[in-house]
């Protein structure tokens, strides 16, 4: 029920969207980052006084840190794939008409959504065995694999909520129209509801991926050698010079920014593209 008025007390709420960073678009980010890194190297390269300058040291370690960062991305993609697969099933369970199934799925979703990511990661790290014995075949569980499992738990719960929210957000007329055309519940869901939901689920799903990517550094706390662990090791290998801390951690921040910012812009663009105009 909406009233048309020239002087509304409040406007309808709009979803907030991030404004671009100095009007930068996706395509600008990589050239600027390259320019920054090369420019900074040139600027700092000249002030050598026996000890290597800060930028030189950073450049020495940059390939290793980049390798660590790629490992982070591998963890994030695997955890996302695993979490999405299980989360989609859980989300469908939440909208099931079977009472115990939907209540159970709801509880699992809420439980893993309410628990902090770091605690879930600890949970997976310490409580999973380091290898399982399957019919005499020893399958090892390396710590990065446990990290993927630990990170996919909260992803699973969030994907489940995204699926449920998307199905709920469709107008009920869709269900009723399908019913009047004699579609069964399963047919309605697969042929009518879910195809429409994919569009609605994509932006929040990408947001979740961005959050997950940023959460992969948590694996450093539990000892997986990803970019943060490598940074710490590189810093101690350089003798713990305090003036190196800022460039190294800044470099890691920059890496994540270069990766996540385009994703955020792309999500905003998708949201605009898929926006439902009432």
């Amino acid at each position: 029920m909406t009233y048309k008025s020239d002087l509304p007390v409040m406007m309808p709420p709009k979803p907030y969207e991030a404004e671009p960073f100095f009007r930068l678009e996706m395509r600008h980010v990589v050239p600027i980052a390259v320019f920054l890194i090369i420019g900074a190297t040139m600027a700092f390269a000249s002030d050598g006084d026996g000890k290597q300058s800060r930028m030189e040291v950073l450049m020495n370690w940059a390939p290793l840190l980049l390798k660590g960062f790629i490992f982070n991305l591998i963890i994030s993609v695997s955890a996302m794939a695993l979490g999405t697969a299980v989360g989609a099933i859980l989300g469908l369970g939440q909208i099931s008409l079977n009472r115990p199934l939907s209540a159970g799925s709801w509880f699992v979703t809420q439980f893993f959504r309410n628990a902090p990511w770091l605690v879930l990661l600890f949970f997976a790290m310490f409580l999973l065995p380091f290898e399982i014995d399957l019919f005499g075949l020893k399958i090892p569980f390396p710590d990065w694999f446990k990290a993927i499992l630990g990170l996919s738990l909260p992803v699973m719960a969030n994907v489940s909520e995204i699926v449920r929210g998307a199905v709920r957000s469709l107008p009920s007329g869709q269900w009723e129209a399908a019913e009047s055309l004699a579609y069964t519940r399963r047919q309605t869901l697969w042929l009518i509801i879910l195809p429409q939901c994919v569009k609605r689920m994509l932006p929040p799903w990408m947001n979740l991926y961005s959050i997950l990517t940023m959460a992969t550094v948590l694996a450093s706390i539990v000892g997986v050698s990803e970019v943060m662990t490598l940074t710490g090791r590189a810093l101690s290998a350089e003798g713990g010079r305090p003036e190196l801390l800022a460039p190294f951690y800044g470099f890691v921040l920059l890496l994540f920014f270069i990766y996540c910012y385009p994703i955020a812009r792309f999500t905003v663009w998708l949201e605009k593209k898929f926006a439902v105009i009432n």
Binding site: L7, V9, P13, Y16, F111, P116, M228, L245, Y249
Partner: protein
């Protein structure tokens, strides 16, 4: 009460389920203090992140191009980088640049401790989200309302404080609560710089007693309960603050 605690000692002796934070008074104090630290850290960050949100939203609406640009840059930087790296950057990189002060024992110690840095870093992180949230609420207040207030002789600050913000607040409450819940969950990151919050104390206890399973399960349940109570309370508040017939 003592009987209740003793029961858990018996439970340990009988079944091997070791919950020292219940029957051992030292561990009990540690766990309780950890719980209080988590709550206190959440409250401090909540306060400062809302202040950052309100001020940031005001600056974003200002007519100076550069204040808008700086706020946008801040938002994008803090939203698109991992909070843990931000925390490390603040604690290790900026923390070592600050001058050292003399502590009570005559030694040298950093000017700001780990708790202070955790509070600063997490406030900035949550604040970046709050700016956007508040801005969306402020945009929902129609221009005609602001113009009416101007016609009544309100100053710019008064309009923001007395007209726009109270109206916007009701619109943004759901998003704000969401962010608050995230903030409480993010306080676990302070573990990484040894702030004695719940996760850190639990870690200490399981290192002493080798009861990882019990502590982990307890920790999950504790956070589930803490966040559950928070979400429940916030939902009630949202319902009572709802503008009738809106949204």
């Amino acid at each position: 009460m003592e009987f209740f605690f003793e029961w858990f000692r018996v439970l340990y002796e009988e079944t091997g389920i070791n919950l020292p934070f219940l029957y051992d008074s030292y561990d009990r104090n540690r766990m309780f203090n950890g719980f209080l630290t988590t709550i206190w850290l959440s409250l401090v960050c909540l306060f400062f992140s809302i202040v950052i949100g309100i001020v940031g939203a005001w600056l974003q609406g200002s007519s100076f191009k550069w204040s808008r640009r700086i706020v946008n840059g801040y938002i994008q930087l803090f939203r698109n980088t991992p909070p843990l790296v931000q925390l490390y950057f603040f604690y290790f990189a900026i923390g070592t640049l600050l001058p050292r002060v003399e502590n009570d024992w005559g030694g040298q110690s950093p000017m700001l401790g780990s708790f202070a840095w955790a509070a600063i870093s997490l406030s900035f992180f949550a604040g970046a989200f709050n700016v956007e949230i508040f801005r969306s609420g402020i945009e929902a207040v129609p221009k005609s309302t602001v113009e009416a207030a101007e016609a009544l002789g309100f100053s710019k600050l008064q309009i923001y404080k007395d007209i726009t913000l109270p109206l916007a607040f009701r619109v943004v409450l759901p998003a704000l609560n969401n962010n608050l819940v995230n903030l409480v969950k993010t306080t676990t990151l302070a573990y990484a710089i040894a702030v004695p919050e719940m996760l850190y104390e639990a870690n200490q206890i399981w290192s002493d007693n080798v009861n990882v399973t019990e502590m982990m399960v307890f920790l999950l349940l504790a956070y589930f309960a803490l966040v559950g109570v928070l979400v429940g309370g916030m939902n009630r508040w949202e319902r009572s603050m709802k503008i009738p017939g809106y949204g």
